[in-house]
C-alpha cells in the first residue's frame, strides 16, 4: 500500500516539477524530496491541494546545520514533514540553504501552524522566512544576538548567562 503510494507520488512530483526536484530518497519506506530553494511553497501547495495526494497536515518543520558534514549539499537545511489523513501517509521535503543570508518563503500562507516552527528555526539557526507575519525570536530573549543551534556556537554560550546589565545591584 505504502510503496504503491510512494511510486504514485514520485511520478506526480517528477512529472510536475521535473528539474526543481534535485533528489528523491527513500528511507524505511518514507519518501523524501530535496527541492530547490525557491520552490518549497509551490511543491507544498501541490502536495496539499492535489486530490489524490491530499497532504493536508503539516506535522513539523525543523532546521538542520550541516557544518563539517561529509557529503552535505549546503550549510543549512529546512525539513518539512507532511501527513495525509486521507491516505495515512507521510512525505518529507528538504530544502538546502547557503551559509550566507539563508532565507526561504514562509509556508504560513498554506498552514497557519507553520508560524511557530518557522519562528523557532529563525531563532535557533538564523534562517529568515519571507512573508512571515511575525518574524521574531520564539524561545531566546530578544537581545540574545546568537543562534544557539548552529554547530559553531559553543555549548556554554558566549557569556550571555552571566550578563545582566540592568539587574545588577549598585550602591
Amino acid at each position: 500500500m505504502s510503496d504503491a503510494l510512494n511510486t504514485i507520488i514520485k511520478e506526480k512530483i517528477t512529472a510536475k516539477f521535473g528539474e526543481h526536484v534535485l533528489e528523491t530518497t527513500e528511507f524505511r519506506g518514507q519518501l523524501a524530496f530535496t527541492v530547490k530553494q525557491d520552490r518549497n511553497c509551490e511543491i507544498a501547495e501541490f502536495l496539499k491541494t492535489d486530490p489524490d495526494l491530499a497532504y493536508d497536515y503539516l506535522e513539523d518543520i525543523c532546521g538542520a546545520d550541516y557544518l563539517e558534514y561529509e557529503g552535505a549539499k549546503d550549510r543549512f537545511c529546512v525539513i518539512y514533514q507532511f501527513y495525509s489523513f486521507k491516505n495515512n501517509h507521510r512525505v518529507r521535503v528538504k530544502v538546502f540553504l547557503p551559509e550566507k543570508n539563508p532565507s526561504l518563503d514562509s509556508l504560513t500562507c498554506l498552514w497557519k501552524s507553520a508560524g511557530f516552527p518557522e519562528r523557532e528555526i529563525y531563532d535557533m539557526y538564523g534562517i529568515t522566512f519571507r512573508n512571515h507575519p511575525d518574524m521574531r525570536r520564539l524561545l531566546m530573549p530578544d537581545d540574545f544576538g546568537s543562534n544557539p543551534l548552529r554547530k559553531d556556537y559553543p555549548l556554554k554560550g558566549k557569556g550571555e548567562r552571566d550578563r545582566f546589565p540592568k539587574y545588577t545591584v549598585d550602591d
Binding site: P141, K156, G159, E160, R161, R163, F164, T168
Partner: protein, 171 residues
C-alpha cells in the same frame, strides 16, 4: 516552664527579641517554584511533612507580603530578570533559600541558557544540595533560616551578588 507557673502577669524582654521571635516563627515564604524541586516544596508544605510546624505554612504569592524567598528549580536567562524583580519587591528584612543543585550552581545544565547559580545575582542565605532535595532538607533549611533570624543575620543587606568581572557588559 509554662507561662502559667509565673506568678506575675508580665514578662520583661527587649522589643528586638520579641520581633525576632515573631519573625522566626511566622515566616511568609514566597515560592519561586520552576521545576521538580517545587514538587518537593509542595510536599514539604502538605500534611505529611507539614511546614506549618515551623510557622512557615502561609505561602504568599505576592512578594510584598513575603519575607522568605525559596528559589526551587532551574533558572534560565529569561527567568532571572523576573526572579530579580520579585526579589527586589520583597520588603526588608528578607531571606533567601536556594533549593537544589540547579538553583545553587546550575546543576547538570551547564549550557548557554542556564544561570549558573542564583547567588550570582541575588544574595542567598541557605543553600540546599540535592537533585531534588528531600523535604527534610527544606525543613532543615527553614530551621537554619530561623537560626539566622535569631542571630539577626541576613545577607540581603550585607552581601552584594558576585558578578564575574570578565563578563562586563559592552554597549
Amino acid at each position: 516552664m509554662g507561662l502559667e507557673e509565673i506568678q506575675v502577669p508580665f514578662v520583661t524582654t527587649t522589643l528586638n527579641a520579641v520581633i525576632k521571635w515573631g519573625r522566626k516563627n511566622s515566616l511568609f515564604p514566597m515560592p519561586f517554584g520552576v521545576a521538580c524541586c517545587a514538587i518537593e516544596m509542595m510536599s514539604t508544605l502538605a500534611s505529611r511533612f507539614d511546614l506549618a510546624r515551623f510557622g512557615a505554612e502561609v505561602i504568599r504569592f505576592s512578594p510584598r507580603q513575603a519575607d522568605l524567598m525559596i528559589v526551587s528549580g532551574r533558572i534560565c536567562i529569561k527567568t532571572m530578570p523576573v526572579l530579580y524583580n520579585i526579589w527586589e519587591q520583597m520588603p526588608e528584612p528578607k531571606w533567601c533559600i536556594s533549593m537544589g543543585a540547579c538553583a545553587s550552581s546550575g546543576g547538570l545544565f551547564d549550557t548557554y541558557t542556564m544561570v549558573q547559580g542564583v547567588d550570582r545575582f541575588i544574595p542567598v542565605d541557605v543553600y540546599i544540595p540535592g537533585c531534588p532535595p528531600r523535604p527534610e532538607s527544606l525543613i532543615d533549611a527553614v530551621m537554619k533560616i530561623q537560626e539566622l533570624i535569631d542571630k539577626g543575620q541576613s545577607k540581603s543587606k550585607s552581601v552584594r551578588p558576585k558578578i564575574d568581572s570578565k563578563y562586563e557588559y559592552e554597549i
